[in-house]
Symmetry: C2
Subunit: 538 residues, 2 copies
C-alpha cells in the first residue's frame, strides 16, 4: 500500500470511527489506580453517609446533614464551585421511633416501619385489623361502613417466596451480553398523556381521604419482600398533600399471620405507635454540585452523578451511598492528582431521586432543556416529573451543548462491568476505548440497550449523552434494594474502589478528548412504536 493510499485510508477511518482518535492517558490511569486503591477513602465516605448520618430521605434532617457534610468534603478536597442547587420538593419527614405489636389473640412484637410521610399515631393506638385489599377507587363502596375504628390491612396477603436463584451474583460474560444488546425504542406518545388522566394517578390521595372519612385509625401494608425484611413504602410529600391516616409497613411474615388469623375467625388486635417529625422550614430539596474547572474548552463540561437521598428503610448504603461515595472518591482522586482537564469535570449528588428523579430532572430543566407546557388546564398542578414525557417540543437552554457527557452510578455496590451506551451507536466505540484500560478489572462491556430508573434518564429524554454504568448486581436486587438490610456491611470495598478508579479515568478521558462525544438527535415527537395497538385501559 502506498503512503498516499494509507493516508486516505486513515482519514476515512477517522470519519467512520471517531473513537480511534480518543486517546486514554495511561500514565494518568496509573496515578488514578495508585490514588484510588492505595489511598482510597471510599469506604470512609460510605461509612459516614450510612452509619453516622443514616438513611437520607429527601428533606429529612439526615439528608440536610448529608448535604452539608458532602459539600464540606468537596471543599476540603479542594473542589471548586461547591454549592447546593435548590428545587421545590415538599416536606421533610423523619422517624423518631415506632413500634407495632399484636396484643390479641396473643402478645407478639411485629417488625414494622412507618410509611414515609404518614402522620404519627399521637401515642399508642390500638384496634382490630380488617383485611381490606383496596386497589382502586371503584372498590371503596364495598368497604363503606366497615372500617370505623379499624386498622386497615390494605395489601393482598400472599404466601412465602421460593427463591431458587442465588441471591449474590456477579455477571458472567454471557449474562452481560444478554443484557446489553440493542433494543429498539418503544414509544407511545399518547400513553404519556393518558397516564395523566388515569383514575389511578391520584389513588393514594383518594384512599387516604376514604379511610379518613370512614374512621379507620391506621393503615398497614405488607413488605414487598419476605424473609422478615422491611422494604419501605411512601406516600405524598408535597405541602398540602400529606396523608392524614397513620400508616405502617409490616414484615410480610407478620402481615400474612395477621391476615390468616383474621380469615380463620380470630381478627387480631394491634397496638401501633409511630412518632414522626415534619419539617416545612424549607420545602426546597438540594442537589450538591462540585467542579474541577476546565482550562481550554469554554463552558464545556463532563459530569458524573449519583443520588445522595435514600429511601425509608435501612441506611441507604447500596442505594445509593455506594454511588455517592464513588462520585466523591473520583473527585478526591482527581483533585489529589491535581489534574488540569481541558473541560470542567462536574460532580453531582442528586436529591429527590427516590420520588421520581426530581433532582436530576431539576438540573435538566434548569440547565439543559425544558419542554413546552401542556395546554389542558387540568394538568396545571401536576408535578414536572409526571408531565415531562407528555410535553412537546423540547426547548434547549443555552447550556444545552455544554454538557458533553454524563455518567451515572446507581446500581449498588458491585464493581463496574461496563456501561450502557443507551442506544447511542456513535458513542459506543469511544466509550469502549475509554474503558479499555480496565478490561483486566472486569470492565468488558459497552451495551446499547437503554437502562432506566435513575438520574441519567431525563438527560436521555432531551438528547444529552447520559450513560449509566453496568455493575455486578451482588445481592442488590435480591435482598438489599430499599430494605432494612441496606446497610454498610453489605458494601464491598474492592468493588467500590474499582468503581471510583474507573469513573475517575473515564471522566478524565471525556474531559480531555479532542472531540465531544457524539450526541443523539434532539428528540422530537415520536411515532408510536405500535401505531395500531388498541389503547390499554388505565
Amino acid at each position: 500500500m502506498s503512503r498516499l493510499l494509507a493516508a486516505v485510508s486513515a482519514a476515512a477511518l477517522f470519519v467512520a470511527t471517531p473513537s480511534l482518535a480518543q486517546e486514554v492517558d495511561l500514565n494518568a490511569v496509573n496515578g488514578i489506580v495508585d490514588q484510588g486503591m492505595n489511598h482510597s477513602q471510599v469506604m470512609q465516605t460510605a461509612q459516614h453517609l450510612t452509619d453516622v448520618i443514616g438513611g437520607r430521605l429527601t428533606n429529612s434532617p439526615a439528608m440536610r446533614q448529608a448535604e452539608g457534610w458532602t459539600q464540606q468534603q468537596f471543599r476540603d478536597w479542594g473542589l471548586s464551585n461547591v454549592h447546593a442547587e435548590g428545587f421545590e420538593f415538599g416536606r421533610g419527614w423523619s422517624i423518631v421511633r415506632s413500634s407495632a405489636r399484636m396484643i390479641e389473640p396473643r402478645p407478639l412484637d411485629l417488625h414494622a416501619i412507618p410509611i414515609a410521610w404518614t402522620p404519627g399515631t399521637g401515642g399508642t393506638i390500638s384496634g382490630p385489623v380488617v383485611v381490606a385489599p383496596i386497589a382502586n377507587a371503584g372498590q371503596f363502596d364495598a368497604w363503606k361502613g366497615k372500617l370505623q375504628g379499624k386498622i386497615v390491612m390494605i395489601s393482598t396477603p400472599d404466601t412465602g417466596s421460593e427463591p431458587d436463584t442465588a441471591p449474590f451474583l456477579r455477571w458472567t460474560d454471557a449474562q452481560l451480553a444478554d443484557r446489553t444488546s440493542f433494543s429498539q425504542p418503544r414509544n407511545d406518545p399518547a400513553a404519556a398523556e393518558r397516564g395523566l388522566r388515569s383514575p389511578q394517578a391520584d389513588f393514594a390521595g383518594k384512599l387516604d381521604a376514604f379511610l379518613k372519612a370512614e374512621g379507620a385509625i391506621a393503615l398497614v401494608r405488607m413488605s414487598a419482600r419476605d424473609g422478615d425484611l422491611l422494604h419501605g413504602t411512601g406516600s405524598g410529600y408535597r405541602v398540602g398533600q400529606t396523608p392524614t391516616v397513620p400508616g405502617m409497613e409490616l414484615a410480610a411474615e407478620d402481615y400474612r399471620r395477621l391476615a390468616r388469623l383474621a380469615l380463620s375467625g380470630t381478627a387480631p388486635t394491634l397496638e401501633l405507635m409511630s412518632e414522626v417529625q415534619y419539617d416545612d422550614t424549607d420545602v426546597n430539596a438540594y442537589n450538591i454540585i462540585a467542579d474541577i474547572p476546565g482550562s481550554a474548552r469554554g463552558g464545556e463540561y463532563v459530569m458524573a452523578g449519583a443520588h445522595l437521598d435514600s429511601w425509608v428503610a435501612g441506611d441507604g448504603a447500596s442505594d445509593n451511598a455506594a454511588g455517592s461515595a464513588v462520585i466523591m472518591e473520583a473527585a478526591r482522586i482527581l483533585k489529589a492528582m491535581n489534574v488540569k482537564p481541558k473541560r470542567t469535570i462536574r460532580f453531582a449528588l442528586w436529591s429527590g431521586e427516590e420520588q421520581g428523579l426530581w433532582g436530576s430532572l431539576a438540573y435538566v430543566d434548569q440547565h439543559l432543556a425544558t419542554r413546552a407546557p401542556l395546554s389542558d388546564p387540568a394538568f396545571a398542578n401536576l408535578t414536572n416529573n409526571r408531565t415531562w414525557r407528555a410535553r412537546w417540543p423540547i426547548q434547549p437552554r443555552p447550556g444545552y451543548s455544554d454538557l458533553v457527557a454524563y455518567f451515572n452510578i446507581d446500581n449498588g455496590s458491585g464493581k463496574i462491568r461496563g456501561i450502557n451506551a443507551e442506544g447511542n451507536i456513535a458513542a459506543a466505540p469511544i466509550l469502549e476505548k475509554w474503558l479499555k484500560p480496565f478490561e483486566s478489572m472486569g470492565v468488558t462491556t459497552v451495551g446499547l440497550r437503554p437502562s432506566g430508573g435513575t438520574d441519567h434518564v431525563y438527560m436521555q429524554t432531551v438528547g444529552v449523552p447520559g450513560f449509566q454504568f453496568i455493575q455486578d448486581p451482588l445481592d442488590y436486587n435480591s435482598r438489599i434494594h430499599h430494605t432494612s438490610a441496606d446497610t454498610y456491611d453489605h458494601l464491598k470495598a474492592d468493588d467500590l474502589r474499582q468503581a471510583a478508579v474507573v469513573l475517575a479515568s473515564i471522566l478524565l478521558s471525556a474531559a480531555n478528548s479532542d472531540e465531544p462525544l457524539p450526541r443523539m438527535p434532539l428528540p422530537t415527537l415520536p411515532t408510536p412504536s405500535d401505531p395500531f395497538a388498541y389503547p390499554a385501559p388505565n
Copy 2:
C-alpha cells in the same frame, strides 16, 4: 427347576433378605392417599400450632397450650392412651414485649428479640455500648473495670454474607446419593468425658456472673443470620441457673452498625426494654403420647415422633410445627381409616428438643434403656443429656425390645425423599420395600449415613431402630431454621400432605410386618476410631 429346589431357594432367600417377606398393603396405601390428600387436615393443624398458638418454647405458656390442644386433637380423632409424660426440665419463660433503640448518635429503631430465659430489663434501661467479644473465661481480665453501666456487645462483628447458592432447594438424585452413602461411625469415648471437664462447659454461667459483678446493665448478641433476620439464642433455664443480666439479640445489620460506630469513635447509646415472664409452677416438661392399639403382638409397638417445642424467634413452623402436624395427620389418617394394626402404633410429640433432645431422651431413659452412672462426684449435678454418651454400659429396660421401629421427622416442610437407615444395613432393604409405593412421589432413597441433631439420636445410642426421614430442604437451612421468618407462610401444603401419607403408610407396614425390623447390636464401649490421635484441647 423342581418344586423342591424352588422351595429351598425361597427359604434361603428369606434368610438372606428378610425384606422380601415384608409386604406393603397397597389397598391400604390407596386409602391413605385418599384420606391424606383429599381430606387432609395437615395445614389446619399446622396453622393452629403456629398462628394461633405461636412459638412454643419448652414450658412457656404457648407450649402448655400446645400440650393441651394436641392431646385434645388426638382424643377427638379417637386415639387411645392419650397422655402427657413429664420429665424435669426447668422454668417457663415467655416474652411479653420488647424493644431496642439507638438514641445516640441518631435515633433508630433496632430489630431485636430477648435472649431466651434472660431476665427482663424492669422498664426501659439505657447506656452506652462497649464491643467486648468475650469467648472464654480467660478473657475476663482484659475487661475488668470497663463494663460498669455498659451494654456489652458480646459477639464478634463480621461483615455481610454473600449467599451464592439458591436459598430454596429440592434435592436432585445426585445430591441425594451424595448425602446418604455409608459412613463409618467415628467414636472417641474419652472425648465424651473430657467434654464434661471442659472449662467452656459452663462458660455461659461464668460470663453472666462476670458481667453481673462488673456492673454491666445488659448484654447483646448478634443474630447468626444476616438480611435482618433474627435467629434466636438462649441461655440457662434450669431452676437456679437463670441468668441475671438481661440479654437481647440484635439483627446482624443493627449489631454491626453499632460496632462500627463504636470503633469509629461514636460509641452509641441504646435504650433496651424487655418484659418477660417466668413460670415455675411446674418445672416438668411434657411429651405427648397417643396410640392406635395393636391387636396381635403383645407389647410391641412402632412409633413416630416430632418435637412440638420450638425456639424463641418466629412461630416454630418449619421447626417443627411441620413435623408435629405430619405426625398428627398420620394419626388422623390411620384412625379415619379405622386400621387395626398387629402392633400398636404410637405417636409422640416431644418437648425440650431445642435444649438438647430432652424429651426423647427422657422417653429412652424411662422406657427403653438407661446407662450406668458416672463415678466422679464432680459430675453428679450434670444433666442427663450432657453425661449420656460418657456413661457405660447401657442397661436395657424391660420395654427395650418392644419398640420395633421409630420414625422421626424434623427437617422442615419439604416432602419426604427417603429415609436414613442410620447405618443399619439389615434394615435398609426393608425400609426400601416399605417406601417403594411412593417412588413416584419422589421417595427414592434409603441412605445409610447416620443423621443427627434430633429425636431419633438417643434411640440410636442404645441400639433401638430409630430413623430420620430425608426431606427436601427448601429454604429451611438458608433462612427459616430458628429465625423470625419461621412462620406458617413458608410451609408447603403439597409437601406436608405427601409426608403425612408416606409416614402413615410406613407406620402401617411396620406395625403389620411379620418380623420386627432388624436391630443393631446393643452398643458397648467402642474403641476410639483414631486410637493414636492426640487429644484436642477443650
